[in-house]
Subunit: 203 residues, 2 copies
């Protein structure tokens, strides 16, 4: 048995960086945007489409799908992308220890009940000031007074996507083994706690 670490994160909370540092320290693979490329190869959808639809519900598409389904079963492009991402995530989890960021990986790993690995579901969050700083350094073109709106919109899109594919509310403490306030604790402590827990999971 080996650990597969899923990092769920608020947009701008620094969860991606924490996941990367955990993977580096444990010398295990890290998957975030990397999943997009593999999913593109698997599904045939372009990377742009997957990046756009791989973590947010696209309402326009959903309406289109509904009208096209003519009352029957219809698998939307977004559903196909979700299934391809799920397949890629589970393939990596079955290969060996790794860190996977977002994309409903907490739900996918917990639902699979695969005895070859132990999953560790981590939630990273931070207060709005810290998130604004992080998002500003990543998207300097966004004006100061638009930052909160931008962050809240991203949260809403990700939460809607999560709820749509998992039937769970995003961020419920009961879905995570550990939830960490990166804004108060800081990156070093978050990384250490996750690495220590992961190291205990090897047997």
């Amino acid at each position: 048995m080996y650990p597969v670490i899923s990092i769920s994160r608020q947009f701008g909370s620094g969860g991606h960086a924490i996941g990367q540092l955990v993977a580096q320290r444990l010398s295990i693979p890290f998957f975030d945007k990397e999943i997009v490329e593999e999913c593109s190869a698997e599904s045939g959808f372009s990377k742009d489409v997957i990046e756009e639809q791989g973590e947010q519900v696209n309402r326009a598409n959903k309406w289109f799908d509904l009208s096209s389904s003519a009352g029957g079963y219809f698998q939307s492009a977004q559903d196909e992308i979700f299934l391809a991402q799920r397949h890629v995530i589970l393939e990596h989890a079955r290969k060996g220890p790794c860190v996977i960021v977002g994309r409903c990986s907490d739900y996918i790993l917990s639902e699979e009940n695969d005895s070859s690995f132990k999953y560790l579901n981590v939630l990273i969050h931070a207060n709005m000031d810290i998130r604004k700083e992080n998002v500003h350094s990543r998207f300097p073109e966004i004006k100061e007074h638009d930052l909160v709106k931008f962050i809240e919109k991203k949260d809403k899109q990700r939460n809607a996507y999560y709820q749509y594919y998992t039937d769970r509310k995003w961020g419920l403490y009961s879905n995570y083994h550990i939830a960490l306030d990166n804004g108060s604790l800081g990156e070093d402590k978050c990384v250490k706690i996750i690495c220590d827990l992961a190291e205990c999971m090897n047997d």
Copy 2:
């Protein structure tokens, strides 16, 4: 600056025991039921009344208070108990490092913004099977098929009390520096993580 650790816990999740072990390991005082005695001495209410009303909203009392207020300001017995508990909690926090369980202490410490201490807000949770086991060993008189109902009722009462006095929803990840699944991680790991964090807070 020294750490004041607030432990919020789901009923039956083992948060009380974790708090006790953290206090023992750090050699600092521990307050849970101890607050009831001090609060009784301070407020004049009996320990029984405080135990009954000190962490759950008593709807019958609230109706009585409303009818008695005749449209004006009326401080209920429960309000007085809340204020006495708040006072006792803040007095301990100002004296030195300690562990405090429940009683809205996470909210009380975060609202106070007192620069003499640093507060660490911890949430402990566990899945229902573990909680049933814990509650069964504490209340062996409760029949197996009544356990879930009993636990859910306690949750509801505590959540309503918390929401009434804090205007916050209980269990929101953003209110805690760290949330731990005691059912999956186990007591030893939870205690170690909290102690390590607390030790970093001394300066």
